[in-house]
């Protein structure tokens, strides 16, 4: 399957989400499928479509640390995006399994293959996780609109539990300590698995190879055009940066 590959460096959270919406719109109108690989700067929290921002994120701490907060179009939980590689794949629904669980499993093979190329053996844990043993290394989320599937997901390159739980809300100080202590039991990262922190560039390259192999994608590389960048900038300003969107629930 022919697929456009967009490999980026870091973007602001709002611009990342805006590009996903733009590409969903364009692919729904007949453009070829897109795989975009990117990261986040400044660090950001994305919350799931059905979450309440105030309940999930310590807004004061985010403001102090310069961490952006954005609501995703996809469900799932709150994610702190810092030391990671992220992908978004947008494709016509007919190119993926109709069954949602099977489509997660299929698309996640791209990440599983990428991790394997890095020397990490992982597996799919329904609905939307990739795990090493029973520890999560990648979370993924999907939406289906206008005849297309958008799935995006992160691969943790390294994790700092203390920092994560000052950004993401935990019910009490007592639970925060427990959460920090327990996180190593259910979360892992490339650094934890390999003993060194792979760079974003290394992970991006493996994601490209992994998705190509697992989903039989024939890539052509094309960065955002000036028109696309401007359209995404407008979506970022008019939607993803707004209180109306981020505090909608």
């Amino acid at each position: 399957m022919k697929c456009r590959l967009i490999t980026q460096k870091a973007n602001k959270a709002f611009f990342n989400m805006a590009q996903d919406e733009l590409m969903l719109d364009r692919v729904s109108q007949g453009d070829v499928p897109v795989l975009r690989i990117y990261c986040w700067s400044p660090p950001a929290v994305s919350i799931g479509y059905f979450q309440r921002l105030r309940e999930e994120v310590d807004e004061a701490t985010c403001q102090d640390k310069g961490v952006d907060i954005v609501r995703r179009m996809t469900g799932g939980g709150a994610v702190y995006h810092k030391t990671e590689a992220t992908y978004s794949i947008i494709a016509p629904q007919k190119m993926m399994p109709h069954d949602i669980l099977k489509s997660y499993e299929k698309i996640n093979q791209g990440v599983i293959e990428a991790l394997s190329l890095l020397g990490i053996e992982s597996g799919f844990r329904p609905l939307n996780d990739i795990v090493v043993g029973d520890k999560k290394i990648s979370g993924n989320a999907q939406t289906r609109r206008r005849g297309c599937i958008l799935q995006h997901g992160t691969i943790l390159l390294a994790v700092d539990p203390k920092e994560m739980f000052t950004i993401l809300k935990v019910d009490s100080e007592k639970l925060r300590d427990k959460a920090i202590k327990n996180v190593q039991q259910y979360l892992t990262s490339v650094k934890d698995e390999l003993g060194y922190e792979a760079s974003y560039e290394q992970m991006a390259e493996k994601l490209k190879e992994g998705f190509s192999k697992a989903l039989d994608l024939d890539f052509f590389e094309e960065q955002l055009t000036a028109e696309e960048a401007e359209s995404a900038r407008r979506i970022s300003e008019d939607k993803f940066k707004t209180r109306k969107w981020n505090y909608r629930r």
Binding site: F50, T143, R249
Partner: protein, 90 residues
């Protein structure tokens, strides 16, 4: 009067609700959580469907909503919505 509840059943994600009731009738209801619903607009529609429903009839109204919908729920169930509302309004 305001009511709220949250629940996390085994195998499901966290589900919360906040409900405003005036003279026994729901005036505002919001659900939240880290679950997945396809299509995503379903939750807004469910909340709108439950407005101006008598407290005692909410469970039936939730069943009525889902009876003719092609909706996929992951990490939450039709029963979970009923249970969390019941827990809030108890």
């Amino acid at each position: 009067m305001n009511f709220e509840a949250s629940q996390k059943k085994p195998g499901e994600k966290l589900l919360k609700t906040q409900i405003e009731v005036d003279q026994g009738v729901i005036k505002k209801i919001v659900f939240a959580g880290d679950f997945f619903i396809h299509p995503e607009e379903t939750l807004d529609k469910l909340e709108a469907h439950l407005l101006n429903t008598e407290k005692k009839s909410v469970g039936d109204r939730i069943d009525d909503f889902f009876s003719d919908k092609d909706v996929k729920l992951y990490g939450v169930s039709q029963k979970s919505f009923k249970d969390v509302v019941e827990a809030a309004l108890m």
